[in-house]
Each structure stands twice: as C-alpha cells, then as structure tokens.
Symmetry: D2
Amino acid sequence: MNFQKILDEIYAEIQPELSRGKVADYIPALAEVKREQFAMTLTLPDGSVYSVGESTKPFSIQSISKAFTFTMALDIYSKALYERVGVEPSGNPFNSLVQLEYEHGKPRNPFINAGAIAITDALITHYRDEYKTLEAVIGFVRRISDNPEISFDSIVANSEMEHGDRNLALARLMKSFGKFENDVQQTVMTYFKHCAITMNTEELSRAMLFLAFGGTDPISGKQFITPAQAKRINAMMLTCGHYDASGEFAFHVGLPAKSGVGGGIAATVPGVMSIAVWSPGLNQYGNSHAGTLALELFTTKTGLSIF
Amino acid sequence: MNFQKILDEIYAEIQPELSRGKVADYIPALAEVKREQFAMTLTLPDGSVYSVGESTKPFSIQSISKAFTFTMALDIYSKALYERVGVEPSGNPFNSLVQLEYEHGKPRNPFINAGAIAITDALITHYRDEYKTLEAVIGFVRRISDNPEISFDSIVANSEMEHGDRNLALARLMKSFGKFENDVQQTVMTYFKHCAITMNTEELSRAMLFLAFGGTDPISGKQFITPAQAKRINAMMLTCGHYDASGEFAFHVGLPAKSGVGGGIAATVPGVMSIAVWSPGLNQYGNSHAGTLALELFTTKTGLSIF
Amino acid sequence: MNFQKILDEIYAEIQPELSRGKVADYIPALAEVKREQFAMTLTLPDGSVYSVGESTKPFSIQSISKAFTFTMALDIYSKALYERVGVEPSGNPFNSLVQLEYEHGKPRNPFINAGAIAITDALITHYRDEYKTLEAVIGFVRRISDNPEISFDSIVANSEMEHGDRNLALARLMKSFGKFENDVQQTVMTYFKHCAITMNTEELSRAMLFLAFGGTDPISGKQFITPAQAKRINAMMLTCGHYDASGEFAFHVGLPAKSGVGGGIAATVPGVMSIAVWSPGLNQYGNSHAGTLALELFTTKTGLSIF
Amino acid sequence: MNFQKILDEIYAEIQPELSRGKVADYIPALAEVKREQFAMTLTLPDGSVYSVGESTKPFSIQSISKAFTFTMALDIYSKALYERVGVEPSGNPFNSLVQLEYEHGKPRNPFINAGAIAITDALITHYRDEYKTLEAVIGFVRRISDNPEISFDSIVANSEMEHGDRNLALARLMKSFGKFENDVQQTVMTYFKHCAITMNTEELSRAMLFLAFGGTDPISGKQFITPAQAKRINAMMLTCGHYDASGEFAFHVGLPAKSGVGGGIAATVPGVMSIAVWSPGLNQYGNSHAGTLALELFTTKTGLSIF
C-alpha cells in the first residue's frame, strides 16, 4: 500500500473538520493551543515512517501517558495489579466518583482518572518516592521511543494541580477506603507531571511500536514486555481507551488506541504498524474530533482493523 | 497447526473445571441441564471442522441469539439503528433498569437485555408482526448455519416468560419513554423465543463463520452483510459480548465473542476461523466458566488473538 | 382568631400567583383544567367551616388518596406493613425506578408511586379482589368525609392507564423481586381509580379532620384509627408528603400535608383543625404552586405550626 | 405530669437495651467509651430539670453540633444560605459522595456531613478565619446553654482528622464544583473540632431550650433567633435529624431531634420542653439505640409529640 498517498488523502479530506471540536479549556496552558492543527504519523517495523501535517510539533500527551504507566505497572506487579484496578469499561465519565464509591475505592480500569492515579500510587510504592517514580516513567518513555529528549511541561503540570480538586477528591476517596498507599497531594502531582509529557506524532508513533509487535521493538530488537502483556494492553486500549466513547471508537475504527485531552491519539495495528495522530479540537467525549475521524478514514481506506 | 491436538489438550486440561461454576437456575428448563458437560468446535474457511466433547448435543443459545438479531437489525436499519440502541459497554449488570432510566429508555448496547429487546421491537416493526419476525430470525440462523433444521424450544421460551417480570419491566420502562413501538408482552415473548433457539457447537461454529470472514460465508460464498458491518459486529462482541465481564474477556482471551446463560460462547478469529464452545456451569458473571477458560487456553496455545 | 378574615387576606395576596405554575399535562383529562382557580377550606372540631374561592368545585385528588389508602393498610396490617413499604423520605423523584431497584423492590415509603401501588396490592390481597378493594377505599373516604356522594372519575382513571407505562414498570419491577401479590395490570388500574377520586376542598378538609384529632372524628365522635396510628400518618405526611420537596414544605410551612398533581393539598394542624387547599398550577416538584404559598401564608399569619 | 416518675420508668425499662447496639469505633477516642451507660434530662421553661442516669457525665456531641452551626449560619446568611445547602432529606447515607456529585457539589441538607462542612465553610467566610470561627461556635454553645465551661476535646478532633479521608474527599469534591471558599484541610479540621464539643445531658438539654421556645430562652429571656428561624430548625431536625433513619424517627417518636455518633440525642417538644438523652450503643443507622427507644417510650407515656 502507498501509505503516504493514503495519509495525503486523509489530510485533504480532514481539513473541513479542523475547525470543529473544542480545545480543552479547563486549564489555561491547554486552552491556548490553536485548534486548527493536525498531524499523523505511521511507523512500520522496518523503520519507515510516513507523516502528514505538523508531525514535529510537540503537544501534551495527557491521558496517553496512562497506557505507558499501566504498561510499567503490569510489568512490575503482574496479576497482583488487578487487586488495585479492574479491567472493565466503566460506562461512566472518566472522572466519576459515583462508580468509585459504589465499587469501594477500586477503580474500574487503569484508564479512567481514578485508575491512572491508583497506578501512579502503585508505581510510587515500587520506586520508593515520587521523584524516582517520575524519573522512571520519563526514562521508560524515552526508551520505548528511542529518544532521550522526551520530557514534561511543568507549567502544564502546575496548572493542572491548581485545578486538580476533582482528582484530589478521587485520590482522597480511595484513601478513605484504605486503597491508597502514598501521600495524596504528591501522588496526584506526580500523575499530573506524567500527563504533561510532551511529544510530537513522530515520537509518539515510535513509542507505540513495541505494543504493536508483542512487546518487542522490531527496530531495535529490545523486548520491553512479554507478548501476553502486550496483548492485554492492546485489549485494554480497545475496550477502555476513549473514556465514555470507547465502544463507539471500537465500533467505528476498530483499533486499540488511547486518546488524551491534548488532542493526541496513539494506536496500534497489531503485527503491522503503530500510528499517532494529533488535532487539538475535541468532541463531546474529550477525544480528538479530527483525530478520531482520521483513524476511521485510515481503517476504511486500508481495510486494516483488528476485526 | 494441529488443531485437533490443541482441542484434545484443552479437553484434558479443562476436566477439573467442569464441576465448578453454577448452571443457570432461574428457570426449571435450564436448571435441569447436567453441569459436567463440554464441547468445542472450530470451523475453518475450507470447511474443515475440529471438535471435542459433546459437539452434537444441542443447548439453548440464549443471549448468543442477540448477535444474530443485531446483525439482522444493523443490515435493515443501518445507521438509524444507533438512535434506538447505543454501542457502549454498560458497566452494569445485563438487566439493569438504573442505566436504562438514567439514559431515558435508550439501551446502552444491543447485548444487554434491554438492548436486545429493543432490537426485537425494531425487527417486529420491520417484519410487521411477531410471527413473521420469529420466522425471519429462525430463517436467518438457518441460512448462516446452512442448516434448515435449526429451531427453538418452546418449553424454554414459555418458562422464561413465566419468570420474565424483569424483562417485562425493562420493556415497559422503554415504552414509558416513548421508545418502544410494539406490544410489550408479545415483543418480550418473541425475544424469549429467539433466545430459546437450540444448537450444538458444530452448528453454532458454522453459523459464526460469515462473521469471521467479513460478512461472507467462505464455504458457500454467500454474502450476508458487508465487511464494514461484520467489523462492527465483531467490535460489539469484543466490547460488550460478556455482560459485565466483557473487559476481562477481552483482556484475557482477546477474541470477539458472545456468550449465553445456556453455557455457550460463540467466537471469531477474524480472517482465520470461527469457534463455538459449550459448558453449562456459569461463573459469577453468567458466562460459561469452563468455556471461558477453554478459549483462554486456545489463544494461549495458538497465539491467535486479535491483538 | 378570625379565620375568615385570614382566608380573605390569603385569597387577596395569592391572586398574582394563580397565573404561575403549570397544570399537570401528562394526561388530557388533567390538562384541560383551567389554571387560574383557587379554593381553601378550614374545618374546626366544633364543625365550623371557613372557605374562600371555589370551595365547592370538585377536582381530582390524585396522590392525596395515598394518605387514605395508607391509613387503611396501616390499620389492617399494623407493623407487618413495614415489611412491604419503608417509612423513609426517598430523596428521589416520586416515580424513580433506580431506588426501587437498589432497594430490591421494597418501596421507600407509601407516598411515592411504587409505595402507593404496593399499598393497593396489599389492600387487594386483604379484600380479595380489585372491585371489593375499590369499594372499600371509596367507602372509607365516604365515611371519613361523612359524605356518601364521594366517587371517582373513570375518564381520568382510563386516561392514566393509557399513559401508565412507568407505573406499570414499577409494579412489574416489584413483581420481579417477588414483592407483588396480585395481577400487575389490575392492581395499577385500581390504583389509578382511587387516585381519580374527585372532591372539593370542603369535602377534603372534612375528610382530614380525624387525622388532626388522633384518629377520631371530633364532630361525629367516630374513631377510625388509634392515636398512635394517627401520629404516624401525620409524621409520614410531614416527611414524605410532597414528593421531592417534602423537606422544603416542612421547612417553610411546617404542617403535615399530602399533595396531589390535581393541585390539591390536604393538611392537618394536630389538635386544632384540618385544611384543604386547591389550585391547579403546579411548581417544578408537582405540588400546587399557589396552594403551597397559601399554606405558608396561613402558618405565618396564624403562628400555627407543629414546630 | 410526674416527669421524674416517667424518667424513672423509662430508666428501668431501658436497662435490657443498654447492652445492645455498637459503640462508634471508627476512631479510638470514641471506641473506648463504655457501652452500658445511659442518661436522660428534661428541661422545662420554668427552669425545673429532671434527670436519670449519668446526666453529669460528658460525652462527645458530634453531629448534634450541626444543629448549632446551622442555627448560627441561618441567622447570619438568612435565605442566602439555601444557595449553599438544600433542606431536603437525603435518602442516602450521611457521608455519600454519590448524591453530592449528582447534585453538583451542593449538599442536600445541613445535617449530612457534606452539608455540615459547607456550613462550617460559610461560617469561616463570615468570621474571617478558622480560629475566630471555632471561638464563635463555642461561644454560641456557651451562651445557649448558659454555661461558660463548655469546651471541645482536641484528642477526639485530632483522631477524627487522622481518619478523616472521606470528609476531606467530600470537601474536595465541593471545591471541585467551585462551591467551597476556604482551605479544605483547615475547614474540615474546624468541623471536627466543633463535632468534638463535650457536654452532658443536663447541659445539652439546657442548650436546646431556646429551640423549643421559638428562639428565645424562656429562663433568661434572651432571644437568640426569631420564631420563624426556630420553626425551620425544628423542621430540619424532624426531616433530617437522624441520617438515613430520619423518617423512622419521625414515624415512631415524632419529635424534632438531632443525634450524634457519640450516642447523644437532643430533642425539643415545641412549646413544652427540651430533652437530651445519651447512651453510646448505636443502631445500624448510627443513632443511639437505647436513646431512640427512650424517646419513643417518652412520647408514648406522655402523649407529647408534635403530631
């Protein structure tokens, strides 16, 4: 297939959609981002890369970081992790306290906010303190993307913390159920920091490649996790990767993927390639409007889908 | 791969599990079924069939029929169907009224009871009356399984109706929201009838083959639905096919599949084969205990999974 | 106190409020009622009666009938009644299925719809069939109002039944929990019939007098229930008498009272008098807008309140 | 009536109940209290006082303090207070986050934990800082009880804070909805301090007297609030004073009253007297088991009730 031609077509067709959607505006640092932007990158196992749009412009990966911290925690804790977080779609908005209370402080899955904060808590327990944890997360993302430059934006992280009451409430509620091991403020701050990692679509697509190939980076040959773990992370992205629109994404796109409110979506086509797309305008569920459509166009044009 | 050998291994390994789980006992007709039974069948596109256990013994397919009625309704109504039922995992037990009320009578997806009853309601509107609808459903299942003998067990259906108050309440609630077009009693009775279809694993596996191959039966060459529709039905089975344990099934097994309280599970390995497994002992979520484990063993042994 | 003067003042002050609120419009028979109407009647133990407005014009008492059927059922079943219905305020809309499901089919109190239907079910079990039950209810209301003319409006009852899907769903849900003894359709129809009783404020005020005087009609001397029972019914009216605005009514008015969507409110001033007020325009909670304000004016002007 | 004789009878009859119920054990400071204790005091407007049991032994008034802070806040903010807290019974456990989220951070009423914390927040805004607020609360309780010795137990308050995650979560959730004005930690700490006020039944009964007499202490003649305010506070105690068993208390006892997990209950018989009762064993709803029964015996024996 001529992937560059397909990307070019998508880029042309997606233009009218770039002025739709709504940039995340709950913190100033994200609200300033210009809506009419788009980038998409495919990375193949032979190292070939295809891009369109502003594929070297960094953006805040936000919840996409949850796929990486979940990968780390699954590798560290193995099955014991399921005692901390479930693996079921939530059927509720990503930041719901109701479900967390109903389920006695055990988050439904690692991709809703409560679950991702619980994962950060588990990582801090493992790495001993929040600085070593942040270092480990950044280090892991640098290794999987084969790029020592990856870092996070502390202005975004601090801005999140200033508006972080709901996430603090989620963490505090988990603590009230005896299901939280570290300091609430510091854990949530660490969570905000890894959400504030900035990457462009070329870097993000590269970082997802090991997940598309059973846990081993096909370019470097490095194994990060086992095939069984990679399968589980892909399954989790498919069933829970897009907040309360995960079913719709699976239904219309049919690829394992994780989105973030920064407008990014990272996806895998298992055994074939990894994909990153970015466009800051969000749909009503908090997922990139043009990014979602671009992936749907991609699977329609290529016939690539897991189903 | 030597599929017969793999099935034989699974059959041996699964034996200790057959005495676990609990046979559905909410109606006498299902409660009588002996727990310690097991069958598994694989059907390949070249027509070759591999089975172990009691693969010619018929069982009540129950909720597996929802995959077939959803297929019919998606073909008839296309996108207009999404106004009647959503496509999101529910995060709640399969027969929850809470969610149905919260969402003003529109069921979350076609595989929870409310959604499947709404689909039956949509089919009755299309086929004009409940008799023609039942005829059409049975006819469709006969065609996809290439078997004119398939029928339903009216004792099971009547027994369901006698204990059908909750399903009647779901239908009545939808009607109270103006989201139900036909008679409540007759529609629920029709729903119970198509749930009471009896098949064995050989028949069921055969019936699923078109879904594993983009909507076209690779043996007969007949096209039942489009590739895009087949992709969506597989996606729906993956995200919502196992009630409140759909995430866990995707996570551990990683195949599109639909289960029923009769102990059956019908699955696809897209592009490769279709599978049916049956064992009447259910786990706490109402899915076949040994059947789920058998499919997990199968994906582990073969490496076949969509991820 | 010069009660007539107080009523005249209230009547004058309430005029601007009569064009506010919204007449119940979920059934045609209620929707036709002219909004700008008002009546208020006080009945004292010596038999003296004070009225203003259209106090001889009949209206549909609707949920006020729940106070009468609860009185009958409490007398018949005594403490055993609490196994069928609770006595707690619901904190939810009067016709919520959510709470009913959460509490496994046992209604929170006898004044929400589910609770009143459960009471009707209990009465049918006691009186053997629905005709004798309706006869008994009408007979009881005739005796407490000392008026053999009281009857119900079958057009209203039939109209309710045509739009009765939600109440049928509530009853069906209770049946699914094994907490319903009689036929769902017939029980709900009987419920709609006693809700369709028509009375004017003079009759309704008279009917409440025994509840204001410990269960014994001070005019006729007839004892209908014990003082302990009367206390409990007054308590129930205070905590649960106004759907989801019961707390507000207690807070601002401070009298035991039961309202209905026909625009009526029946109240007691224990040991002093009974009151009925009627004005069809409803506030957002389904209680008479002007009627509620008139009772607040009454307690402010007279200082009569239970607190 | 011979009140001493009635109290003596109650004291004798209640003995077998003192070994039932369960002392609050969520913090060590409360868990140490011996269960088999009982005290009851009546205070009449002429200054006469009747007691039985350990009526001079101090206990932690806990949630009873909410009646006092609500009184202060209603006096300060008047109707504007209803924008911060509602006046409806909650129908949910006293510390539910679900309802708070559903209602966008506005607590249902001032007697559930979230509501009482919101009241403390409102008081801190008014009094400028948390020290002046605590001083004002203690000062108010000293004035209404005509006793300059009343104070709080800082060991209890600190112990609460150590186990205060759920209350911190409630406060944090309100802050996330923009409905919280002061520092979360300090406000919750101030709340725990006023809950830790210690009084005996003689002091507590004395402190309630002004609420039984329209806001004016009949002994000193001092007016603390208006009759209309006193009526509203009594109404609030009746509909919401006993957590999720408020309806039951109104139904069986029929007096405005507020309970605390320290085992105290403070009640009014409007126009007649005030009552305090104490026994540390709690029923399943967190209200004093023997205390509730003693009040029920009292209303049965005396016929005193508001209904």
